[in-house]
Amino acid sequence: MVSALPPIALQAGGNRVVKGVKIEHVCGDPSLGPTGDAALRRHIVERCLEALATPVTTPTLFEVASTEEAAR
């Protein structure tokens, strides 16, 4: 799952938790403009696919690159 609040997701037992951006906009960042936002959203989705392809045995956090890095 993508979560803006990974501590809660992990404590609830979510097996693969991808760190989202913010409660207000979990899967993107409107402040980056349309192009930057799209790049960030793509990055988050790609991280989710990587997470799905990664075997886990306990609740595991998958970080994403910082908003600015991902948007580049």
Binding site: A4, L5, P7, I8, K22, E24
Partner: protein, 446 residues
């Protein structure tokens, strides 16, 4: 450094009359002049002023804020500083007069477009008698304003206009106390402690609104900001104030200046503890990294202040608990012994019977926790009765709609109310989250 004398005037009776004034426990209020003060702002379209007393068959609906009228009679600044046109001078020094057991209550129906913008701007009620009269708000005597504003105002202006009218009215009522000698005076100062006592900090976490421009304020400042050290006297002089939009009980203005944590810590200062002051830390940041930063900076401040112990309080629910728990974790890891004062569950609890409490025993009562939070004091959970009887008189509006997910579920305010059926995730009883332990009710009588 700061010395505040709080002069209290107990109110045992409130009457309408002119001229207004206070004498021997009797408060006479010139209701027409109160109304005129509210109407000084042309954006205020309509005002009704009512006296409401405990024990009456009265229900107040659309409660937006409760304000204790206070007046600074000596010392710098203005009570409730930096809001509603008051100057931003630092408060907490001098002499402040206040009413004991009396408050100004602000009621206003939320226009539909504002309800759409802020889903939490739901209807809250106060019953003055009967099975719904379970909070301290049913025990106060009120001058209640029911205000309707010009329809075109946006959210921020709506909030500020309502608060402005309410604080003008409160200031007017407080002005009755200007030249009087208070029957009761309490001196508040963090005098230097001679004995070696544990240094204690109060970590006063305080929800910040995720909707810009509204929410409770610190010296008028509503936005999320990094933690700040306040002298408890600043809080007692109104440095923290509520808004008129979200009537979450831990955020109203009255509770800030009447927060029982402050007098309790004062009572222990110099006796068992050396109280440093209150670190006010905002909660409900939007990003996990912001929550961490706020918690880490709060811990750093406590360490720099030489704290050996901490009392952590909060005034909200939900995800605010993340930064609260991270703060507790950081304090404990820094070897600052920490106690957390909390409500037991932040969702609606209707009549809780022992069987239900037992079957729910495996559910975590708190959304998030850390192993370091090993000293927790519960204030319980107010469990209001599931249905309220009809009342003889209603103040604040004609209808109620409690559940923002079912806005068309509108009931006559004075009729019997089935709270379980009509409300959403939260109890509509104003004051049902008892963050600081005013009440004596819990899940059930143990």
């Amino acid at each position: 450094m700061m010395e505040l004398e709080l002069g209290s005037f107990p109110v045992e009776e409130v009457r309408s009359g002119s001229p207004g004034g206070y004498a021997d426990g009797v408060l006479t209020v010139d209701l027409e002049r109160v109304r005129a003060r509210c109407l000084e702002d042309p954006r205020v379209a309509e005002v009704a002023v009512d006296i409401v007393l405990p024990g009456e068959s009265t229900r107040i609906v659309n409660v937006r804020d409760v304000i204790e009228p206070r007046l600074k009679v000596a010392g710098e600044g203005h009570v409730y500083p930096a809001i509603c046109g008051h100057p931003p001078d630092t408060v907490g020094d001098g002499v402040t007069h206040r009413y004991e057991g009396f408050a100004l209550l602000l009621a206003a129906e939320v226009p539909e477009r504002i309800r759409r913008e802020v889903s939490a701007a739901a209807t809250s009620i106060v019953d003055m008698s009967g099975p719904g009269a379970v909070t301290m708000y049913s025990a106060l005597r009120y001058v209640a304003l029911t205000i309707r504003l010009e329809p075109a105002l946006d959210l921020v202006e709506w909030n500020e206009t309502l608060l402005g009218a309410a604080h003008r009215a409160a200031g007017f009522l407080a002005s009755y106390l200007r030249d009087l000698t208070p029957p009761e005076v309490q001196r508040h100062a963090l005098d230097p402690v001679e004995d070696v006592l544990p240094r204690i900090v109060h970590v006063h976490t305080l929800n910040g609104s995720m909707v810009p421009g509204i929410g409770s304020t610190i010296y008028g400042y509503a936005r999320h900001a990094l933690p700040l050290l306040l002298h408890p006297n600043e809080i007692l002089d109104g440095a923290i104030a509520g808004d008129a939009v979200v009537t979450y009980p831990g955020k109203c203005t009255w509770v800030q200046v009447n927060n029982p944590v402050l007098p309790q810590l004062y009572a222990r200062h110099g006796r068992d503890v050396d109280w440093i002051g209150s670190i006010v830390a905002r909660t409900r940041w939007g990003a996990a990294a912001e929550k961490e930063l706020s918690a880490f900076q709060t811990v750093k401040l406590a360490r720099m202040l030489g704290a050996q112990g901490a009392l952590v309080t909060w005034n909200h629910g939900g995800n605010d608990l993340i930064e609260v728990m991270l703060t507790i974790q950081g304090l404990e890891r820094a070897r600052i012994e920490t106690v957390f004062l909390t409500i037991e569950s932040d969702i609606k609890v209707v009549r809780m019977v022992p069987e239900l409490a037992e079957t729910g025993a495996h559910e975590p009562p708190l959304l998030f926790s850390v192993p370091e939070a090993d000293a927790i004091v519960s204030t319980g959970t107010l469990a209001p009765t599931t249905s309220l009887p009809a009342v003889e008189r209603v103040v604040g509006g004609e209808t109620v709609a409690f559940d923002f997910e079912r806005p068309d579920l509108v009931s006559p305010a004075g009729g019997p109310l089935d709270l379980e059926e009509l409300s959403g995730a939260y109890s509509p009883l104003f004051g049902h989250f008892d963050n600081y332990g005013f009440g004596t009710q819990s899940y059930f009588d143990f």
